[in-house]
Symmetry: C3
Subunit: 237 residues, 3 copies
């Protein structure tokens, strides 16, 4: 199961899912509540998590590899915490790794907090958006301008409270019995390299498998085939 | 416009320029005052900068992408500060990123300062040279000995005062409206990796686009085609 | 001369040696005392070092490039300290770089110390083993499960005292006249990336040549041809 990041939906992971399916796997790519067309933008992290826990239950997933991108790391951590026996491995792809009581806001820079707060104040409906120049320079720095523009159009406003609300976990990731991997795009500067995804957040996993590939935060657009390969290597056992 | 680093001239960037021209761009690769044949080695940073500002003015460059290598980062920052409306993007290729009042000496290790001071004391004409073993091990670690020797012969003594004189800027890079990129060679240990080019200096740019490629500080010799590709990706919009 | 790491013997470096020999070099890959079949597991670092000093003497090696993997860094440092005129270059491949009076235990994390101490307490014969999950996730994260299992079977219990005993050196590596290189596998998380091999330990070499390749701590199994190429680049002059 692939869980998308902020501003995305499951749809944007379809190219990756297709590559993984071609190798014989069953792939789910649900959209988290708050990012679906028509969703209220005032929902918080708990409600977002519940929507994927419901999906996981309804689909009766077993022996699952959960892949979380960015904000999706919050979601997969919560799912594994709730269903430890149904999850085989957690794969964090440039994703947040929360301990109990932490929010996304606790793991980003003060500059990100200011940027998101300003966007929310301007929008007024509970959502935040990324300015295009941040998207183009810091999130999708490995494509040309046309692709950067086209993919920006796919983004949806993200509910701020999913970033500020603190997660409730029974067990922190390092103490979970489930196996863990971290997939790191070496040119991902969505979190700056002086305050990076890996190893700053990955080390919170305790023992984990590292897979690194070249690319930005948006490998789902810039190189879905390479990303699919990395995810399969990360989750192969 | 490509601006070379210390000990180099524009000539050593010709292979890179040729690759970029082949893609349809107009490329300038002037030599900074102090590194031209016959130049006095007692000149300082201000005079070096003025020589490229003069070049920029005479050529009537507009919508320019300025690429600075190493010490060349000092020069392009000053040019963009003087002509903010004529510069489209600054591309730092393993280059110094100065704020107002900083010198190259403020951004290197104490070991580099000692090395350069010792060389200047020995030479006595205001210039510094790199010992061959430093060149071979720490600057051009990705070629064979023959190429290391042949390229060492191309170097010219560098005016020390361009490294010690502090730059005067109206606006620091992070606050400049112009777009910025950083091209990082992942095996560049000319500044050691515990005190690196990226992200230690690149983060001074604020929002910037990162392009990484494999190679040493001297990709202009070891892989000019790959470097040209990286520079074009860094500057493509 | 290739010197293996903990839990290994020279045999596991045969694929690498074969590639290097194919390029025309003479390659020795002795097994350090304590890792040979039948060796006592109670020996310490001094005795382990002496076994390779004896080998070096008996083989009358001259103009040698010494390559040390991991724990093998302790051994090659000591050999160069004893025979400075017979060694042309030290190549550390994700290896420990000791100063006088340091042990492997001084350069690993507290978590490693606890892991090894627990293993030694359980085994009771002076040796330590790696749990399979640590091997698979943190040492050989770049192969499939079958190869991870098969190579795990090749490991031999390692004498703890070679990791706890402090080395005696006349000269520290940074002050040795011999040339030095560091080969770094960029996905090597046997030491975690927040407490890494490079640059944390490599910088103790002073001036050194960096060669980086993609791969885990066990490139001798996952990509011996690429590793051989890197070792030859590291040692080519």
């Amino acid at each position: 199961m692939l869980v998308h990041g902020a501003w995305h939906t499951g749809k944007e992971l379809e190219s990756v899912a297709t590559s993984i399916r071609a190798a014989g796997h069953i792939v789910h790519a649900p959209t988290v509540k708050g990012n679906r067309p028509g969703d209220s933008k005032s929902i918080g992290l708990t409600e977002a998590i519940e929507s994927i826990i419901d999906y996981f239950t309804q689909q009766e997933l077993e022996d699952a590899v959960l892949v979380g991108h960015s904000y999706g790391g919050m979601i997969i951590t919560a799912v594994a915490d709730r269903f430890p026996r149904s999850v085989r491995r957690l794969v964090y792809w440039n994703a947040f790794v929360p301990n109990d009581g932490e929010s996304v806001y606790d793991m980003v820079t003060p500059q990100h907090v200011a940027l998101f707060d300003a966007s929310a104040a301007e929008r007024g409906d509970g959502s935040v958006m990324l300015p295009f120049d941040v998207w183009r320079e810091a999130l999708i720095n490995d494509v040309d301008l046309e692709i950067a523009r086209r993919t920006y159009e796919l983004l949806n406003p993200h509910p701020l409270k999913t970033l500020t609300e603190k997660i409730a976990l029974r067990v922190n990731p390092a103490e979970m019995a489930v196996a863990k991997s971290y997939v790191n795009g070496t040119e991902d500067i969505s979190l700056p390299h002086h305050y990076p995804w890996h190893p700053r957040l990955s080390q919170k996993l305790g023992l984990f498998r590292l897979i690194q590939i070249s690319g930005s935060h948006e490998l789902c657009f810039s190189n879905p085939v390479l990303l699919a390969r990395a995810i399969m290597d990360a989750g192969r056992d």
